[in-house]
């Protein structure tokens, strides 16, 4: 018994404590979302009562819009980011051209300045664009995606390039002997073999976009155009206690897509991150 504890038992103890810490807020929010009284005070007692009232109340706020907006904005950003960064990484990995070193160094420099720091400049730029091209300017989700794509090349290109470098160039050469163009090599060989790292980039970009608040909040004012982050923050900052139940329901549903994606791609993440960081 004591030997078992010395080897395994204390590990379970630490593990269980960590589980309590990790799961407490999640349990709390599940309980609060089911509590029909819907206030913060009432949520203090876990699982005091259970009903789906809060979920029904979500129909009374533009939650559906927020959810849909977030999904398509994040998905569009993730897909476009992967395409832009992968093609850039392909150029750096497979071609030797003038300014290649300088380009990589420049990217390293640029990506140190997060977009949020330039929020004011982005706001002014989008306001200017709105004057001429209202479809992609301030207040539009499409414009928001364009802004996010500015950060597509930065960090990602290094992770992807590191991975592409490890794909043997003999494969390219063989395909080229068979008459494949460089475009074809890119789409049929590089993108396919690079799928693991591209999945990681897509996931990280998706999660980062779902989480992004600052730029989304200055870009989107119309209630039906907001993202989940902007909308739910508004709900809470307006009346924290009274809206707690509805918020909990919304938060729980809002977490589903990210958690699902994460479950599917989790095994790629660790290897992708460690590999990319070591390879640069």
């Amino acid at each position: 018994m004591t030997r078992w504890f010395r080897v395994y038992g204390w590990r379970h103890l630490v593990g269980l404590l960590a589980l309590v810490f990790a799961l407490l807020p999640i349990v709390f929010v599940i309980s609060a979302s089911l509590n029909p009284r819907g206030t913060l005070t009432a949520s203090v007692t876990l699982f005091a009562d259970a009903s789906l009232d809060n979920y029904r109340d979500l129909a009374g706020i533009p939650y559906g819009f927020w959810f849909g907006n977030t999904l398509w904005i994040a998905a569009a950003t993730a897909v476009a980011t992967v395409l832009l960064a992968a093609s850039g990484a392909y150029a750096f990995s497979r071609f030797r051209f003038k300014g290649r070193r300088l380009g990589l160094l420049g990217l390293l420099l640029v990506q140190m300045f997060p977009q949020v720091l330039a929020a004011v400049a982005i706001f002014l730029l989008m306001a200017q664009i709105k004057g001429a091209l209202p479809g992609i300017g301030l207040g539009t989700q499409f414009g928001l995606v364009l802004v996010y794509l500015g950060g597509a090349m930065g960090v990602n290109i290094f992770l992807i390039k590191g991975f592409f470098d490890s794909i043997p160039t003999e494969l390219d050469d063989a395909a080229k002997v068979d008459g494949a163009s460089h475009t074809r090599v890119f789409f049929t060989i590089i993108l396919r073999l690079g799928a693991p790292v591209l999945a990681v980039i897509a996931l990280l970009s998706f999660i980062a976009t779902v989480n992004e608040f600052m730029i989304a909040s200055i870009m989107l004012q119309d209630p039906q155009r907001k993202t989940l982050a902007v909308g739910l923050y508004g709900l809470i900052s307006e009346r924290l206690s009274a809206n707690w139940g509805v918020f909990s329901a919304g938060a729980l549903l809002g977490a589903v897509p990210s958690v699902l994606l994460f479950r599917f791609l989790q095994r790629y993440i660790v290897s992708g991150l460690l590999r990319g960081s070591v390879k640069g």
């Binding site: 590990r11 071609f95 640029v110 090349m153």
Partner: protein
């Protein structure tokens, strides 16, 4: 592959390219027309240059690499490089509330606002019309009986315009009041939508000064971006003016501002460093504890422990705000049985609280990468150390930890840089509060530099964009210096350029 199939494929990809580039050009033409219509030459030039670059790169034979770089590069240059440069520039200006326009437009605006009816001028009979794009126009019949629409001769209401009904006249009063038709001796304006009159500015512009023709007051253009009279009265709006280092001087010398800013600065470093330290420590501890062959339920522990990382962090941050609420929160009233601990309202406790929340958000990530890195350590290394007589602590301290730090080092630097600007946690959990008393701008004791920038730029009353941009520039310089130091210590750079 046969030659026929090959040339067919070539033809297919050529068609695809033509279609895509054609689409880009079509959109560009639309953009050029639209920007030309509002005379926005800046955006006009950008569209022109970008489209020319696309056409050159995709049809020249010597630009293979650029074809793959250009799309990302265009976005990068506009939404990352340009905005950064503009931020640096705006830090030297006074742009913000009341200083958004350039000087000619501000002048135009001031003159228009100062317009008064010319005494004794004959009334016009007017009608307010809405055009097909719903913009308002003024149809006027002068004392001489001639009818004009926006100053041009007209015969009546054009077919695609409609007379604005009374209800809309009231509802869109601001737009109606802003309607003005320039005439030879002043401009035609209306207050009620049925009678018009000739109005002239009561201010006269000459030699960079405005003179009030009624009172004789002289307003001089000043370096602050205002027309200002001798006794300090200003005419609004002001304009955007380069103020040199004023914003920086203010940040460093304004007595009441300096102390709060310094404390924000110090806290930003402390927050980032402590966040990395605590999350790494807990993640490593759990990885070491649970990464043991034969431990039952390893998989379950792992998949449940990473849940906090999988949930979007803004949601978790908001949930924690509710849990830590002093009067109604779960921590005080559920866990501690009715305690009254000011988790978010006391300066010190609030700092502890945001670190705790950030620990919750961040430890699974560290747990994941530490587990991954641990499994990559060859068993022989541990074996060899043990044979050499190393105890468990020595093994960890001299072998495992150094090896771990090599592979996770760059990620720790990245994590520091990320937490340095971790706006979401701070803004959602405490809102930066509790506020530091006596600060001239609202700064709180848990504010990071980035949330302070957001508050200065977009929070509450006075939007001081120039000052916010100056602060952004300072943050950039700090982060750049740290990253440069961090990267030099890893071999990331050399490997990247191999």
């Amino acid at each position: 592959m046969t030659d026929l199939a090959r040339s067919g494929q070539r033809l297919g990809s050529l068609a695809g390219k033509l279609l895509l580039v054609g689409l880009v050009n079509a959109l560009a033409v639309y953009g050029l027309v639209a920007t030309y219509a509002v005379r926005d030459w800046g955006i006009f030039a950008v569209i022109l240059v970008a489209t020319a670059a696309v056409d050159y790169v995709y049809f020249s034979r010597r630009t293979l690499a650029s074809r793959y770089l250009l799309p990302g590069l265009i976005f990068l240059l506009i939404f990352q490089v340009y905005v950064v440069i503009y931020t640096a520039y705006a830090g030297f200006t006074n742009v913000g509330d009341g200083h958004n326009l350039d000087k000619p437009r501000a002048l135009q605006h001031i003159l228009a606002v100062s317009e008064k009816r010319v005494p004794g001028s004959p009334p016009y009979k007017v009608q307010v019309l809405a055009g097909p794009d719903d913009r308002l126009h003024l149809l006027a019949t002068g004392p001489d009986g001639r009818t004009t629409l926006d100053g041009r001769p007209a015969t009546g209401v054009p077919a695609d315009h409609r007379v604005l009904p009374f209800r809309d006249l009231v509802g869109r009063q601001q737009e109606v009041l802003a309607l003005r038709v320039p005439l030879q001796d002043g401009s035609l304006r209306t207050e009620d939508g049925s009678t018009g009159y000739i109005a002239k500015p009561t201010l006269r512009y000459a030699d960079d000064t405005l003179t009030d023709t009624v009172t004789g007051t002289v307003y001089r253009a000043t370096e602050r971006g205002y027309f200002e009279s001798a006794d300090g009265k200003v005419l609004t709006p002001g304009w955007k003016e380069v103020v040199g280092l004023d914003n920086y001087v203010r940040a460093f010398t304004d007595e009441r501002l300096r102390a709060p800013l310094l404390s924000v600065f110090a806290w930003t470093f402390a927050f980032a460093a402590l966040s990395v330290l605590t999350t790494f420590a807990l993640g490593l501890l759990l990885a070491l504890t649970l990464n043991r062959e034969g431990l039952r339920g390893r998989g379950i522990y792992r998949s449940l422990l990473v849940l906090p990382y999988a949930v979007p962090s803004f949601l978790s941050a908001l949930v924690w705000t509710g849990m830590l609420n002093q009067s109604f929160g779960f921590v005080n009233h559920g866990l501690l049985g009715g305690a009254d601990i000011p988790w978010l309202n006391d300066a010190t406790l609030a700092k502890v609280s945001v670190l705790l929340v950030n620990l919750w958000l961040g430890f699974p990530y560290m747990f994941l990468i530490c587990t991954g890195a641990l499994q990559a350590v060859p068993a022989e290394v541990n074996e060899a150390a043990r044979i050499d007589g190393a105890g468990p602590w020595q093994l960890f301290r001299r072998v495992t930890l150094p090896l771990l730090l090599v592979s996770t080092g760059p990620l720790l630097v990245a994590s520091f840089a990320f937490n340095f600007n971790n706006f979401t946690v701070i803004y959602f959990v405490t809102g930066g509060g509790p506020n530091i008393p006596d600060a001239p701008i609202t700064l709180g004791s848990t504010d990071l530099l980035i949330s302070a920038v957001y508050k200065v730029a977009f929070g509450g009353a006075g939007r001081e964009w120039g000052f916010a941009c100056a602060m952004s520039t300072i943050i950039f310089l700090v982060v750049a210096a740290i990253s440069a130091a961090g990267f030099r210590r890893t071999r990331a750079l050399e490997e990247t350029y191999s």
